[in-house]
Every structure is written in structure tokens, then in C-alpha cells.
């Protein structure tokens, strides 16, 4: 609570807010992304902006950064009203910088070139040339950047191509890029999605350093724990409106969740699954020495001798920072016969070798998949819920009679499924695109669970899903577990893994580096230990 004392001290002096947005509204067609939103960013604070997916957080921040123009509202910088930015360039000049969720870095270019993109400092000798054609002052830039990176204890190889740098370093590069442009207001969009717990701590420590030097930070996030732990103030958005504006020390995660969703929410997964049925001894999924060679000759294998099994009625979680082979593992399990998914190793389902089985047959043997990217792999966004429900089940005897779809029966079953999984709207003919992320995911789950899978492979099952739907998805997964399904769960949310899993395997650079078993009690796993494995410290 040290930060808060410092923060309230500043408040007493009534320094004008660095940035203030008043009554900001913005619609996209019929959708009101922001409706009369107010946001006040005090100097020297970390301000959390929280809300579910689609609550309007990103729109609001893009407005503040000049990427989107609002339909209405006022903008105040240092307490002085000014006109809206016409482009990010103007926002940058006024000292606002943004680190986007997907980094704005070009992989094949050097860290230095990425950092100096968009700056046009005059260089004396060449000032007779139009700014466009002036040579870049790389030497000067590197000196400035080195000074900045020393000041904040960042270490970056400026000549390295960005794609060779770890994600955490790329993020620091993004932050330094902003500091180099004299940003006083830093906006970070979901900055911790790709970080290990340790890296997250490190990030916020660094952000705290920035606020000490008078800068302010806005963090857009949906992770309430981070908000509670690291921010000074918090603004909650729901459906484009502000539903709470609080000092962090005066609130709780539960209160914030309620403001986000609009009703009481059970935050801890464990409370759903108090009495876990014991895990059986029967292996459903067995994987032996699964390997996927490197994409390039010189690289490391993408999957390196991966072996594990999942038993009946067990949830095995896979933890790891994105890009350490988790997605490749899932693909190898779903398409073991493809040479570009698996170069060697064996996959067995209920004792039967399925290494050379066709994908569609694997599905009919009782494997269900909740894909990582439901827009790309899970749904046809422009087709109806009914057709999406049929996707992959079209040969199932329930829906098909020698290749002809049983329309009437399909409609009945779809309506039942929409009802049972609480998919809204309950309209079999609605387009999947019109559904919220949570309802889309519920539709995928309704489909995949309708086969009563023996093995469920769930990849990021609650990504981009609202808090309310998360609860229901978690309880469905635990329900399947109690029913004897073997569940392989891959998630970038450690809380989710720790809440659901009976075992957690930690992946680093294509290998399992650690295995953690669920312990009795309120904290079933040692988060720090898992984090260490994710960062490759233990191998």
C-alpha cells in the first residue's frame, strides 16, 4: 500500500489530471462501443481500465491515442481542453504513447529501426533535404536509447532482428520506444497476456519506476488480480459505459467483477469443484516421444520428445509462455498423420495407436476439440448457429441419413443444445458472427460436448470470453471430468490451469520441464514454481 500513500499525497496538491476524457461516445453502426465515458488520469499513477471483452476498453484507448475519432466528448490535457487528435501523430506529440496488445514491431527489422520508426528529428548536416529524405541518425538514436535503457535497467540488443528477441524484451522495446518520444502518458493494452508471473512482476516494477518520474500509465486488462495488486485507480467499463471509478485500495476483486458483469460472480474455480472425484488409473490419451522437427535447419525442434498421458476423469493442464510448443502439441494430437505436425513419436487413444489414423476418424473415436482460435478454427462466422452446430458432426447418425441431413431432427437438437448451454440468442438461424465471444464459445462447447467425448482437448477455452461465461465454461469442463472424460487443458491463464487441473505440465522450448501435482487445500499449486519453469530457469 506504499504506492497509495504517495498517490494520495499528490492528490492533495490538486495537480491537474495529465489526461482527462469527458463524455466520450463512439458508435460503430448500431453498436455503441463507448457511451458518455469519463476517464481521469492523475499524474504519477497507474490506472487500470477493466471490463469484459467488447466492453469498449480498447475503443476508448484508441480514441485517447488518436487512432479512432469519437462521435462526441471532450479531451483535456493538463487540465486544458483541446481539440481531438486527428491522428496518432498528434497524440504522440502531446506525449501519449500506446503499447498495443499485438506489438507494433516488424519482425525482420532491427530493434533500433523499430524504435526510431516515425521519428523525424532534424539532423544538422542534412537539413537542406526534405525531412523524408534525410538520413536516419542511427548513432544518435542508439545513444539516446542506451541512456534510457540504462536508466530503467532494460537490456536490449539494438542490432538484433526483433523476431529473435523474447516477448518480454519486445515489450520493453515497445516501452522504450515511447519513452524515447518523450511520452508522459503510457497506455498498455493487455500487457501481461504473454508474460510469465515473474515477468509480470518485473513489468509492473518498471512501470512503477516510470510513475515515480512523473509519468502516468494506463493498463487495460481483464485480470483483476493485477489490478488489485499493482494499480492506484481503476475505471470499470461494461457495455460501453463506466460502471465504477474507484481507488484500488477502496475496492476488492469481487466488487470489480460485479461491476464488470453486472451481477455477482464466483471468482475462484475451486469453489465449484470442492469434492473432486478421484482420477482413475486408466489412460485415455497416451503420448510417447512426440517430436516435431525445427522449422528451419538451424532451429530447435518445435516439439522435443514429449511424453505424457491423461487418465479417465483427469484434467491435465499445460502451462507455458505462448510460443513454446503448446499450439504445435495440440496440432500434433489432432493431426498425428500429417508430416508437418509430427515428425516422430506415438499417440494412443484408449490403447489404440492412432498415429496414422485420419483426422476425421480420430474425431469419431471420441476426441473433441475446443480450438485455440474459435474464429479461425471453431466456427464459420457468417453461417447460422445451426450449421455451426453441425460442423464436423455432419456424418453422425443423429443428423445424417446416407448423406442427407435430417433437417427437422437437427433443428430440435440444436434448440435443445442452445437451451442446455445457455447460448444467447436462442435462435438457430442467427449468424455466429453476431454472438458475443462468450456465446460463441458456448456454442463450440455445446457442439463438442454433444459427442460425449472420451478425450477433450481444450485450448484457451476462456480466451476473450466474459467473466460470466468463464464460470459456466469451467463448470462444464469439470462436469465432463466427473463424467470420466480425460481433459487436456491448455491455457495462458495460470489461475484457470491451477483451478481446474489435477496435474500441470510446464512447457518450455518444446519440452516438458516440470510436472506439478494438485495439493490439498486452498492453494493447490505453487505459482512461483510454475512460473520458474515457464521462464526456462529449471530445465
Amino acid at each position: 500500500m506504499v504506492h497509495n500513500e504517495e498517490f494520495s499525497g499528490k492528490m492533495a496538491l490538486s495537480v491537474p489530471a495529465l489526461l482527462e476524457l469527458r463524455g466520450v461516445s463512439r458508435s460503430f453502426g448500431a453498436l455503441r462501443a463507448n457511451a458518455e465515458v469519463d476517464l481521469k488520469l492523475e499524474a504519477g499513477t497507474i490506472h487500470g481500465v477493466v471490463g469484459e471483452n467488447g466492453a469498449g476498453k480498447s475503443t476508448l484507448m484508441k480514441i485517447a491515442y488518436g487512432m479512432i475519432e469519437p462521435d462526441a466528448g471532450h479531451l483535456l490535457i493538463d487540465g486544458v481542453e483541446r481539440s481531438w487528435w486527428r491522428s496518432p501523430r498528434e497524440a504522440i506529440q502531446a506525449g501519449i504513447g500506446m503499447v498495443h496488445q499485438h506489438f507494433m514491431l516488424a519482425g525482420p527489422e532491427s530493434a533500433l529501426d523499430n524504435a526510431i520508426l516515425g521519428e523525424s528529428r532534424p539532423t544538422g548536416r542534412w537539413s537542406f533535404l526534405p525531412p523524408l529524405l534525410r538520413p536516419l541518425d542511427r548513432k544518435g538514436a542508439i545513444q539516446r536509447l542506451r541512456k534510457l535503457s540504462d536508466e530503467f535497467g532494460f537490456d536490449i540488443d539494438w542490432t538484433a532482428e526483433v523476431e529473435t528477441l523474447p516477448v518480454g524484451v519486445q515489450q520493453r522495446l515497445e516501452i522504450l520506444k515511447l519513452l524515447d518520444r518523450d511520452a508522459r502518458i503510457l497506455i498498455l493494452d493487455e500487457p501481461t497476456a504473454v508474460l510469465t508471473p515473474q515477468e509480470t512482476d518485473e513489468l509492473f516494477k518498471n512501470l512503477r519506476k516510470l510513475t515515480r518520474s512523473g509519468r502516468s500509465v494506463v493498463v487495460i486488462t481483464h485480470k483483476l488480480r493485477e489490478v488489485m495488486q499493482f494499480t492506484d485507480e481503476v475505471t470499470v467499463l461494461r457495455a460501453g459505459r463506466v460502471t465504477a471509478r474507484l481507488k484500488t485500495k477502496d475496492t476488492s476483486a469481487e466488487a470489480l467483477a460485479e461491476a464488470m458483469v453486472g451481477r455477482k460472480v464466483v471468482l475462484r474455480v475451486e469453489e465449484n469443484g470442492k469434492s473432486r472425484t478421484p482420477v482413475s488409473n486408466e489412460s485415455v490419451l497416451q503420448v510417447e516421444a512426440l517430436t516435431l522437427a525445427a522449422a528451419r535447419d538451424n532451429g530447435k525442434p518445435r516439439l522435443n520428445q514429449v511424453s505424457f498421458d491423461v487418465k479417465r476423469g483427469e484434467v491435465v493442464g499445460i502451462a507455458g509462455v505462448e510460443g513454446n510448443g503448446q499450439s504445435e502439441l495440440i496440432r500434433a494430437l489432432i493431426h498425428p498423420s500429417h508430416a508437418d505436425c509430427r515428425t516422430s513419436g506415438q499417440v494412443r487413444l484408449l490403447g489404440v495407436d492412432i498415429t496414422h489414423t485420419r483426422d476425421s476418424e480420430i474425431r469419431s473415436l471420441g476426441v473433441s476439440v475446443i480450438p485455440e482460435d474459435r474464429h479461425e478454427e471453431g466456427l464459420l462466422l457468417d453461417r447460422s448457429l445451426e450449421e455451426n452446430y453441425l460442423l464436423g458432426l455432419q456424418r453422425d447418425a443423429r443428423f445424417s441419413n446416407r448423406g442427407w441431413i435430417k433437417r427437422a431432427q437437427l433443428r430440435t437438437l440444436v434448440n435443445e443444445a442452445l437451451e442446455a448451454h445457455d447460448v444467447r440468442p436462442r435462435d438457430a438461424e442467427a449468424k455466429a458472427r453476431g454472438l458475443s465471444g462468450g456465446n460463441q464459445q458456448k456454442l463450440v462447447i455445446a457442439r463438442e460436448f454433444s459427442r460425449h467425448p472420451k478425450c477433450l482437448i481444450a485450448s484457451q477455452p476462456t480466451r476473450g470470453v466474459d467473466v460470466g461465461a468463464i464460470e459456466s465454461i469451467h463448470s462444464k469442463i469439470l462436469e465432463a471430468r466427473s463424467g470420466g472424460t480425460a481433459v487436456l487443458l491448455l491455457s495462458s491463464e495460470l489461475d484457470e490451469l491451477m483451478g481446474l487441473s489435477d496435474r500441470i505440465l510446464v512447457m518450455y522450448e518444446g519440452k516438458f520441464v516440470a510436472e506439478h501435482r494438485r495439493q490439498q487445500g486452498s492453494s493447490p499449486y505453487d505459482e512461483r514454481a510454475i512460473g520458474l519453469g515457464m521462464s526456462g530457469v529449471i530445465q
Binding site: K62, Y65, G66, M67, I68, S87, P88, R89, E90, A91, I92, M98, H100, H102, M104, L105, A106, G107, P108, E109, D113, N114, I116, L117, G118, S120, P131, L132, L133, R134, P135, L136, R296
Partner: protein
């Protein structure tokens, strides 16, 4: 070797011929490089080039000055490229389809205007030697390459073009208008392809003739891919294609085992080489990540 006639020796002649034939390819490939690195596929290079060749012949003929021909070729190239830019940048048309359409348009427009202006649709009047370029375009191509390579590495605009094709959202977030950069790059590629055409009609030959580019625009594009979207390797690839073209000319009429090889078989050599190069020898070549994707804000 005879002091007087060293420049008549076969290797020197072959080398000189290589550079002559590579010149239009270098111009066109630099154009293709600009546009592709900015994220716009430029299959229309062939059409730009054809328009440029025609415009140069007409301009040189009218003003009795090859430089006016080159100037007009550049202008017409830019104008024609701007039409392409309207389609693919403004209206986000599919770049392959729009590019093919531009090529057809050029193939049709040139004989059409030729008929209107000179009452023949086959070719423009022959330019006297005084109204033709000597070696200027050949030097010009390499000077331009050096300039472009420098622009590429060392200036803001070079950096912006690279980002426009690789990660346009990053460029946009840095406050630079992506589509403006793409527009400029496509227009510049029109100028360069126009100059490539001018080199064909006012330097390598003495008039414009129907479809005289004969796939050189595509060959230039192949050079860009072979050169992995980098200026110097691309220019070297152009030299390779120029060399094959020069060899092809020397092999015409050659006899194998007392049997004359039909000239058509010899003439297809550079094209076959292009196919082989593209199919087999480029190794892992990575296109700019956003090549062919219209820029979407937000």
C-alpha cells in the same frame, strides 16, 4: 590481345550486351521492389512498362529528343500506375486480378493509340539515331539502383516503405499514413517501369512495337522474388536474366550435330531459366508479411 580491338572480343561483347539487356529489367525490378516492399503486389509491372515504352517512342518522336521521351514515359507510367493504385488501395480490389486487368488494358491501349496517332497499329515510326539513347539508360539504371539502395537503408522514407509492407499497423500507430506511402510507392513503381519501357523502345530498339515488353515485366518481378525483395540481390538477378538473354541472342542459328535448332527454342531459354530459378533455386524467400493485403485501420 590486339590493343585496338579489345572491346570487340567476344567476352566483352557478351558482357556489354548483358548490361544493355539488364537495364530495362533493373528499372522495372526497382519499381517492383518499391511497390512490393510497400505491400502492393505488382503484377501490372508488365503493363506499366508497355505504356512507358509506347509513351517514350511517341515523346521522342514528337519532340525529337530521347530525354523528352523518357520524361513522358515516366509521367505516363505514373499516371497508369495511379489508376492501379485507385483500384487496389482506394477500392481494395484483389491485386492479382486488378494487375492482370491493367496488363490487358495496356496491351489494348497501346496499339489503339498507335493507330490513332500514326495510322498503323503495329509499331511507331522508326526513330533516327540522334533521337535514341546511347548508353545513358544503362548507366542510369545502376546509378538509380545505388540511390535506391541508399534510400532504402538510410532514410526515413525507406524505413516507412519497409514497414508499410511488413507491419502497416505499426506504421499507422507511429502516426504515418500507410496508404499514402503505398500510393507513393506504386506511383514511383510506375515511373520506374515507364523508364524501363523507354529503355526498350528508345535505347535497345528504335521504335515501339506491339507487346514489345514480351514478359520482361514478369521477369523483373521474378528478379525481385529471386533477390528476396532486396535491392542489390534483385539487381544481380536482373543481370543474370540479362546475361541469359544475351547468350540466347548469340546462340540463335547454332547447329547441334549438324541440325539447326529452331530459333524459337533458343528464344525461350531466358524464360525457362526464370521458371527454374523461381521453382528451384530461391531457397526460403520470405515475402513482406502484408504483401497483397489491403491496409485496414484499427
Amino acid at each position: 590481345m590486339d590493343e585496338q580491338n579489345w572491346y570487340q572480343s567476344a567476352p566483352f561483347q557478351l558482357a556489354a550486351s548483358t548490361f544493355r539487356l539488364a537495364a530495362p529489367l533493373v528499372f522495372a525490378a526497382m519499381g517492383g521492389l518499391l511497390s512490393e516492399r510497400a505491400g502492393v503486389i505488382n503484377i501490372a509491372l508488365e503493363g506499366f512498362m508497355l505504356m512507358g515504352a509506347f509513351a517514350a517512342a511517341v515523346g521522342a518522336n514528337h519532340f525529337a529528343d530521347p530525354w523528352m521521351g523518357a520524361l513522358i514515359a515516366g509521367g505516363v507510367g505514373a499516371a497508369f500506375a495511379s489508376i492501379y493504385a485507385v483500384f487496389v488501395i482506394q477500392y481494395r480490389a484483389n491485386q492479382i486480378v486488378a494487375g492482370t486487368a491493367m496488363n490487358f488494358l495496356a496491351a489494348g491501349l497501346t496499339p489503339f493509340f498507335c493507330k490513332i496517332l500514326f495510322d498503323v497499329s503495329g509499331s511507331t515510326p522508326t526513330l533516327p539515331i540522334a533521337v535514341r539513347f546511347g548508353s545513358e539508360p544503362i548507366w542510369g539504371a545502376w546509378i538509380l539502383l545505388a540511390l535506391l539502395a541508399w534510400l532504402w537503408r538510410s532514410t526515413s522514407v525507406g524505413l516507412w516503405i519497409r514497414f508499410a509492407g511488413e507491419h502497416p499497423q505499426a506504421l499507422d500507430a507511429a502516426g504515418i499514413q500507410v496508404n499514402r506511402i503505398r500510393w507513393a510507392s506504386v506511383a514511383a513503381s510506375g515511373v520506374l517501369a515507364g523508364l524501363a519501357g523507354a529503355t526498350l523502345s528508345v535505347c535497345l530498339s528504335s521504335s515501339f512495337s506491339r507487346s514489345m515488353t514480351a514478359g520482361r515485366g514478369f521477369m523483373a518481378l521474378a528478379a525481385v522474388i529471386f533477390g528476396k525483395w532486396r535491392p542489390v540481390p534483385t539487381a544481380l538477378a536482373c543481370l543474370l536474366f540479362g546475361f541469359l538473354d544475351a547468350v540466347q541472342m548469340r546462340l540463335q542459328g547454332v547447329q547441334i550435330g549438324g541440325v539447326g535448332v529452331p530459333v524459337q527454342f533458343i528464344q525461350i531459354l531466358p524464360y525457362i531459366a526464370t521458371v527454374i530459378v523461381l521453382a528451384g533455386f530461391i531457397g526460403k524467400s520470405r515475402a513482406p508479411r502484408s504483401l497483397g493485403l489491403p491496409f485496414e485501420k484499427v
